[in-house]
Amino acid sequence: MNESQGSKAIVWLLLMTATVVLTWGLSEQGLSLRIATVATVLIAAWKVRLVLLKFMELERAPWGLRGLFEGWVVLAVGAILIPYLLT
């Protein structure tokens, strides 16, 4: 496995681990509901960012294009967490 494939494999492992933690781990930690939910959404956002930068190769894209999609992550998190925290 060459260096590029190796680094992408590490990204995949991180994504898979985060998914397991998020799906089956957080609920077992005795965290308050709100903290667990906020953590869940933030971990999901981190995963999205990894896919954008490492799989969609925005990491080496022009800053404007990269900034647009990093902005989408902020938009999506805001659209979910702001109403949630106001509920």
């Binding site: 998914t19 998020l22 896919v51 799989f55 080496r60 989408w72």
Partner: protein, 192 residues
């Protein structure tokens, strides 16, 4: 001068394709907001609906799509290096994962419909079926497009900058399908 060389940045795929990707993702972000706004009005009803879903299936589907995305990345690496056979193998795996997600989702829908849930049964399920249904349509299109590129790689007709750019666009589209599910899954199945 060395800094300019080190800072070389390129647009993956085709520039115009990113306009489509941005538009599609913005639509979903708006739907996320609409879901959350509706949930604010009837949180108990939404929680009731959420509890009828199976997060184990949702979590497994997430693992399947993540793996599919990774396999597409490996396909692209292989094709860029001129390793068409390896690229074909990676892409076969990616398509298989896409089909597995599709089958899983159909079985899940069957169970939910059998339990009496539908687009008309509650606002939660209206959002659930519409959001996951639109996403599932994207999965179907993605599997068809990946199959098209599978044939192109097999026929050795991916060549030059334009050919590779098309393959990159295929990958970008599929990663978008993946990342949309990464947000959809916790939104629908886990948010309490």
């Amino acid at each position: 001068m060395s800094k300019a060389i080190a800072e070389h940045r390129r647009v993956p795929g085709l520039e115009g394709f990113w306009v489509f990707i941005a538009g599609d993702m913005t639509l979903f972000a708006l739907l996320f907001g609409a879901f959350m706004a509706e949930r604010r009005d009837t949180p108990t009803l939404f929680e009731h609906g959420r509890q009828a879903l199976n997060p184990n299936i949702g979590g497994l589907n997430t693992l399947v799509l993540l793996t599919s995305s990774w396999l597409v990345v490996n396909c692209l690496i292989a094709v860029r290096r001129g390793q068409a056979r390896a690229g074909l193998n990676w892409l076969t795996g990616a398509i298989a994962c896409g089909v597995a997600f599709l089958c899983s989702k159909v079985l899940e829908y069957s169970r939910e419909l059998g339990d009496g849930h539908s687009v008309f049964s509650s606002d939660f399920f209206m959002f659930y079926f519409i959001l996951t249904g639109i996403h599932l349509f994207h999965v179907v299109v993605g599997c068809v497009v990946m199959s098209f590129f599978w044939a192109k790689i097999r026929n050795k007709s991916i060549s030059g900058r334009n050919g590779l750019a098309g393959l990159e666009c295929m990958g970008i589209y599929w990663h978008m399908v993946d990342l949309l599910w990464i947000m959809l899954f916790p939104l629908l199945y886990l948010l309490r």
